[in-house]
Symmetry: C2
Subunit: 355 residues, 2 copies
């Protein structure tokens, strides 16, 4: 806690030489003196208050522009008791040191940034260990942010429920679970898994592998869809074809390779992310199997590159373009004191070349 506050490089002693003028930032009082008025007048002028004489106002505004003065947002917020910052939190797995890298999540963050900017809010991006998700609440408890958007994988359902009970305003990108108090936004994972698998089965595939870490709720639901599709087709899914790899391309490649070696009859793969699917295709090619002829592959996410890899990926589309806005909207609903119901975005199969 103490170390958190030392080290204040509010560029205190930084007026060395290099950036020509790294001097103290101007304040209202400086402007006030130059303009020969009181700070309150400057404040009003800069806020565009109709109370101040147009001439005075123009002079002040001109002065401010000339000095590159901008109202100190921190002080303003403190005084006004307001805040326009939303924290976007990316949980990471401290074990695998897995960094923020899946293009899907990265793109999701981009969408959130857009939606937030659109509504005049600022975005604080931070990372917390998935093992201690509640740390995320700090951004709100410290007054840094008014609410949280949690992005990405997590196993810690309970922590989130607790956080909700503590009154922390937040939304999470993920699966809608039973007994869930908090608000999620995500695709319909069960449906998505079912669509993907049904497509493979319809194409006559009978030995369909599932690639993805079912420890994650979203993936578990996609797997559930996978099972449901099998049931719907009157087929039995072979548990041996489950490849519980984490969402890391390098690992998936190896795992899929081993799975292929062990089960020669595999003729289809449903991967729980496009990255996983691309890694699987790569492994397939290396093992000398052709896609989609010998083995058909379906992914999940529809990241940008899915359309441009070869063969173009058949995948389940999560509508990224509206995901960011949906998350932001839900958060604001909560901040407005309303109940925000979980949102399941439109989920559909996008057929391309890989299956």
């Amino acid at each position: 806690m103490n170390d958190l506050r030392r080290a204040g490089n509010g560029n205190a002693n930084a007026n060395a030489n290099i950036p020509p003028a790294l001097k103290r930032r101007p304040q209202m009082e400086d402007i006030a003196k130059l303009a020969g008025v009181a700070t309150s007048t400057v404040s009003r002028a800069l806020a565009g208050s109709p109370l101040v004489n147009p001439k005075t106002r123009d002079r002040i505004v001109e002065l401010a522009r000339h000095l590159n003065y901008a109202v100190n947002v921190g002080a303003q917020n403190l005084r006004l008791g307001q805040n326009k910052v939303v924290a976007v939190v990316v949980p990471y797995d401290p074990a695998s040191r897995q960094h923020l890298s899946d293009p899907f999540f990265l793109a999701l963050i981009g969408g959130i940034a857009d939606a937030l900017t659109e509504s005049g809010h600022e975005m604080l991006l931070s990372r917390v260990p998935a093992s201690d998700l509640e740390q995320a609440a700090y951004a709100v408890e410290s007054g840094r942010a008014i609410g949280l958007i949690l992005v990405g994988q997590w196993h810690h359902h309970d922590q989130l429920n607790t956080m909700f009970m503590r009154g922390v305003p937040f939304v999470v990108w993920g699966a809608h679970l039973e007994q869930q108090l908090y608000c999620t936004v995500g695709s319909d994972n069960v449906l998505g898994g079912e669509l993907a698998t049904a497509h493979l089965l319809r194409r006559g595939r009978r030995r369909v592998a599932f690639v993805g870490d079912t420890g994650l709720p979203e993936v578990a639901q996609r797997h559930q869809g996978y099972l449901r599709a099998h049931a719907g087709a009157g087929l039995a899914a072979d548990p041996a074809l489950l490849c519980p790899s984490p969402f890391v391309a390098e690992v998936i490649g190896g795992d899929v390779g081993r799975l292929l070696a062990a089960h020669a009859g595999i003729d289809g793969v449903f991967a729980a992310s496009d990255v996983a699917a691309m890694a699987a295709i790569h492994a397939l090619h290396q093992a000398g199997r052709s896609v989609p002829d010998q083995v058909a592959v379906v992914g999940y996410d529809d990241i940008d590159s899915a359309a441009f890899c070869h063969p173009a990926l058949t995948t389940v589309r999560q509508p990224l373009d509206i995901a960011g806005k949906a998350l932001v909207d839900s958060l604001f609903k909560i901040l407005g004191g309303q109940r925000a119901a979980p949102v399941q975005l439109h989920t559909a199969l996008l057929q391309r070349a890989s299956a």
Copy 2:
């Protein structure tokens, strides 16, 4: 006003029913009263000051934890005149409304987030129109952030020099240009372009197209390398083979298609980004050309999916893993009042299957 600040965090009248306890956030004074001490003691206790009696301190700390109290960072910063926030700014093209989406930049942002977190800083992510890059300075001038990291494309060299002269501490990801006052971090674009093109020429390719918007300094330098490689091989580059597409996959696909139609003899493509390369390969396939047999393709960036698409992309690697850290380090150097020289990261050709 007073009602605005009740109800805790800028969410006005939010103590409805849903989030069970959306009451006013506790403050030091609350803790002080409960502990029967003065706020100054609470402050000291929470800061871990040795001046306060261990027993008192423990009681206070316990109380704070129980109430989920965290020191208000805004007020703390105001009082201390400090700040640990760095703004990461993504310029966007207001014309094309192009959103934050190239995986390379997204991944770069991830790397910056990691480096910032590592050094105990917070990251504010914002977007400004490329046409008015100086807007980015607002984050610093308003006291929001202590410095800026600009990420991505930009045409406005002069604006950046001006910003530097104004004393705004910032670093930019991009090309190192002549007469540049500010600090850039990037790959060696000329070298990269040369390596890529030389590789193609060495493979006997003689009609090599260049895909990328040479209006951007980074791309212009890559193109310069492309020309230099031709010169080095005693060959003349055909200006007709320049395809000045922006970094948007959809557009590139069409442009490359047209280029192929117009120039049947094309046997190589150097694309100034991996996304562009993947789009080009896609267009090539659609036109019935095989990669790399009929047309060899080299990209730039080495984004994650470059290794997993098919054929795996031969590309110029920009070391993403160290890019974020390099940017952050340079910024801190500047904040410390030192001169930060432009950095060119190690740039090398990564040969895979597409060329």
